[in-house]
Each structure stands twice: as structure tokens, then as C-alpha cells.
């Protein structure tokens, strides 16, 4: 399972506390994680990725293992530590947003 940490506003919207976990086929990628997240929590559709283009919203960032994965392509495999569940995949509201 891949652990995902959502920002506060999206946790409220999805009505979840703490981390959520999603299962995706290997190789695990951003796209698969976000697809699985949106399938489990349809209310998140459009809040992380644009519904029409599927591109990451400008003021959303993806971090893991102290790295900014926001500019990786959606189909780049995620770090092994994230795939194993040792490290979470963080969805973060950018400092400049709001």
C-alpha cells in the first residue's frame, strides 16, 4: 500500500483523518496513485489535478523522501521507499497559493 498524506483542506473535503492508503499496480507512479486516490475519494477530482487536462494544479506540490516530485512526469516510477510504504507520498498546498 502507498501511504498518502493530504493537506488539511482536502482531508476535510474527503472526510478522512490522518494518512490514507491506496493500492496500485507496479510500477507505481504519480498517475496511478492519483487515479486510485480519486477513485476512492471522488470528491477530490479536480482539486489536485485539472479535470480536463489532468495536469497538476499550479499551487499543488508532490513531495516524497525529502524530494520535490512535482515536476516529474506523471508516469515516472515513484521512489522505492514510497512503493514499500516506508515513506509517504505528500500532497502539499504550495506556500504561494491561497
Amino acid at each position: 500500500m502507498i501511504r498518502v498524506i493530504l493537506p488539511q483542506h482536502l482531508r476535510i473535503l474527503a472526510q478522512v483523518d490522518g494518512e490514507v492508503a491506496v493500492r496500485v499496480a507496479e510500477p507505481a507512479t504519480q498517475r496511478k496513485v492519483l487515479d486510485a486516490l480519486e477513485a476512492s475519494y471522488p470528491v477530490l477530482r479536480g482539486t489536485i489535478r485539472d479535470q480536463a487536462t489532468q495536469r497538476r494544479r499550479s499551487f499543488v506540490r508532490f513531495f516524497a523522501c525529502e524530494q520535490d516530485l512535482s515536476h516529474e512526469t506523471p508516469d515516472t516510477p515513484l521512489p522505492e521507499a514510497v512503493v514499500k510504504g516506508d515513506e509517504p507520498f505528500l500532497v502539499v498546498g504550495a506556500m504561494a497559493g491561497g
Binding site: P7, L13, G46, Q51, A52, F59, V60, G93, A94, G97
Partner: protein
């Protein structure tokens, strides 16, 4: 006994203000959706417990909320606003072509007779409708696809469709207003549209009386007189007596005819309200005095209403969707400011008092009169 519920959208959440018919003691509920911009929320005329709210965020985009119990609880409904077909371009600020891109819902207008039908005014300008309580949204593309669409340009706030008026007497007739394209009318339930801007003059565009390009800030209509429309334009207060076929200026003795909201008294179709703002670059009241101006002659002659409003050092703005009236006797008038105050007048504007003073900047105010 009657009561009122004031629905306030702010930069950082929604607030519901309730009072009995005396409108003297208020209860404040909120913030709902704290941290999100609530551009607009409005109740269904057919079922006052049904509310819709447009929730958006620079981080997380657009969400739509629906309540079926008058705002006690909310459920998230559909947020997929997909333009119909191939979208072309409109003008960007610099005059270059720019593709249509969804940004947010500025205004939600519930149907007059069906709680599950609601219209959404969108940035970049388009009109959407839901007939399943907001679960799914379909564009009425005849508006955006009007031949003038490529000439539409955004106002300072974006290319927003901010006003939707439904005509109970003529069910197929709708009016919308777009900054900065102008006013449009449909006579076939929103399928086809035509600009209704004859008589408008705007010094900020090269052809001052062009068919489109006018920055209409707000239009208002009394339900008993749907042929009569009132408009607060970027500059100029305007009036039409023929359903928008032509307009004439009724700014009269206003200290400045720049402003954003305009509204009509619930029981007196010739009594209208505006809040004059100093200028397009100075978005605050003239002389630091917050005054609502009322005309009882449908324009031209205006009187200042200031009792209870700050008359010195006041430099707030009142945005286009931030004024509303109730339908009690006497008519209550309400408006919210960018300073976070919501003022109420229970006597048609004679006296004012703040309901709340320290909300986030107010984006919209609507009122429900409940029996």
C-alpha cells in the same frame, strides 16, 4: 413569525446570519468551508432549505456544495465544468487571443421552480446548468459560442459571468452579464443569446458604443416588472424599459456613478439602491463616507442614506454580488464590504447597523425571507 437568513460568501468561508422579522438580534453561524473562497451561495426560491455554494481555492480549484436543510449540513456535489465542444479563444488583457479556461464559478442561480435545477456563471465566461441538484453540469454553449465571443475580454477580476436573472413571467427568458463583454438575453431558455448593450458607452474601449466589450458590473430586475432592468456599469448607472433592447443613463445626481452592486426594493419596483465608489482605480467610497444611494424614481434622482454607516475614514469596497434585499414589510436591505462588515437596514435604507463587523472580505450577500 417570519425570519430572514442572510447568506454571506467571503474570501475565507461562508457565514449564515439569521434573525426574526424584527431583524434586530442576529445569530452568526460559520465559518463554513473555512479557508476557501466562497464566491456565492444562494437558496432555491422553490425550497428555501436547498442552498448551493460555490467553494473555490487558489490551491485546490472548484468545489460545489449543496445543503438540503438550510445550511445545517452540506454535501459535496459535482465540480466538473467542461466546456461543450471545441473552445475557441477570447481576448486576453493585451488583446491577444487566449483559450477559454475554466477558473471558478462566480454565481449560482437556482431555478425559480425546481430546487434541483441551478445555473452557474463561470470564469472564463460561460453559463452552465445542472438539473440534478448540482451533481452534473452541462454548458449552455450558445452564449460562449456567440459570434462576438472572440472579442470578449476580461475585466480586472477576470472574464466572469457574474449575473444571472431569471424571468418568472417569461420562463424562456434569461439575462446574464459578463465582465467585460456586456449584457446578453436569451428568449429560448438559454439556447441562443444576443448582446443587449445598445445605449451603453464605455470610454475604456476603442469603439465606445460597441455591441460588446462593456464592463457591466451588475444588473437587477424586479420580478413584477421584468421588462425594466437596472445596471451598474463600470461607470454609469443605466436603465432599460424594454428588456434590454436599449438603455439610458440614470446616474443623475450621484456623487460618482462608478460602483459594483445594484438592487431593487422588494415592493417598490422604482426604488433602487447603489453604492457609489470613487473611481475605477480608487475602490472606496468618496470622501471616506460609506453611503448607499437610493432612487425612488427608478434613477436620475438619488438620495444618500448614511444613518448608521461610517461617515469618516471608511475606505472599503462593496463588490457586485454583495447586496441583497429581503421581502419583509418593510423591505430589508443588506450589503457586505471588503472590510468584513455586513450592514443591514430593516427599514428600506433609512437606518443601518452592522450585523457583523469583522468577517473576511465579503464577496457575496444573499437573503432568504422565511415564513
Amino acid at each position: 413569525m417570519s425570519s430572514v437568513r442572510v447568506l454571506v460568501g467571503t474570501r475565507k468561508g461562508a457565514f449564515l446570519l439569521t434573525a426574526d422579522g424584527k431583524r434586530a438580534r442576529w445569530e452568526v453561524s460559520g465559518p463554513h468551508f473555512g479557508g476557501w473562497e466562497i464566491y456565492h451561495l444562494k437558496g432555491s426560491p422553490a425550497d428555501p432549505n436547498r442552498l448551493y455554494a460555490s467553494q473555490s481555492s487558489g490551491w485546490f480549484g472548484q468545489v460545489v456544495q449543496r445543503s438540503s436543510d438550510g445550511g445545517k449540513t452540506w454535501e459535496t456535489v459535482g465540480n466538473k465544468f467542461e466546456y461543450d465542444g471545441v473552445t475557441g479563444t477570447h481576448q486576453w488583457y493585451d488583446g491577444t487571443p487566449h483559450p477559454w479556461e475554466f477558473k471558478r464559478a462566480w454565481h449560482l442561480e437556482p431555478s425559480l421552480d425546481d430546487p434541483d435545477t441551478v445555473y452557474a456563471g463561470i470564469e472564463d465566461a460561460a453559463l452552465f446548468r445542472s438539473s440534478d441538484g448540482g451533481q452534473t453540469w452541462q454548458e449552455l454553449p450558445g452564449l460562449r459560442e456567440h459570434t462576438s465571443g472572440p472579442k470578449w475580454q476580461p475585466g480586472a477580476g477576470g472574464l466572469c459571468l457574474h449575473t444571472i436573472l431569471l424571468d418568472r413571467a417569461n420562463p424562456g427568458r434569461m439575462f446574464v452579464a459578463i465582465s467585460a463583454a456586456g449584457a446578453f438575453r436569451s428568449d429560448d431558455g438559454g439556447n441562443s443569446w444576443r448582446p443587449i448593450n445598445k445605449g451603453l458607452r464605455s470610454a475604456q474601449i476603442p469603439d465606445q458604443d460597441a455591441e460588446v466589450g462593456h464592463c457591466v458590473h451588475r444588473i437587477a430586475m424586479h420580478p413584477s416588472r421584468p421588462e425594466v432592468l437596472f445596471m451598474q456599469k463600470h461607470w454609469d448607472v443605466m436603465r432599460s424599459d424594454n428588456g434590454g433592447e436599449s438603455w439610458r443613463e440614470v446616474s443623475g445626481n450621484l456623487p460618482t456613478d462608478f460602483g459594483f452592486p445594484i438592487d431593487v426594493h422588494a415592493h417598490e419596483p422604482e426604488t433602487i439602491y447603489v453604492v457609489p465608489i470613487k473611481s475605477d482605480s480608487e475602490h472606496y467610497p468618496p470622501d471616506g463616507k460609506l453611503r448607499v444611494y437610493r432612487s425612488r424614481t427608478g434613477g436620475d434622482q438619488w438620495e444618500a442614506l448614511s444613518r448608521g454607516l461610517p461617515q469618516s475614514d471608511c475606505y472599503v469596497n462593496v463588490l457586485r454580488d454583495a447586496m441583497a434585499v429581503d421581502s419583509l414589510d418593510s423591505c430589508g436591505v443588506y450589503f457586505g464590504t471588503t472590510g468584513g462588515q455586513v450592514y443591514a437596514s430593516p427599514d428600506a435604507g433609512e437606518t443601518w447597523a452592522p450585523i457583523v463587523r469583522d468577517l473576511p472580505p465579503v464577496l457575496s450577500v444573499e437573503v432568504q425571507t422565511l415564513s
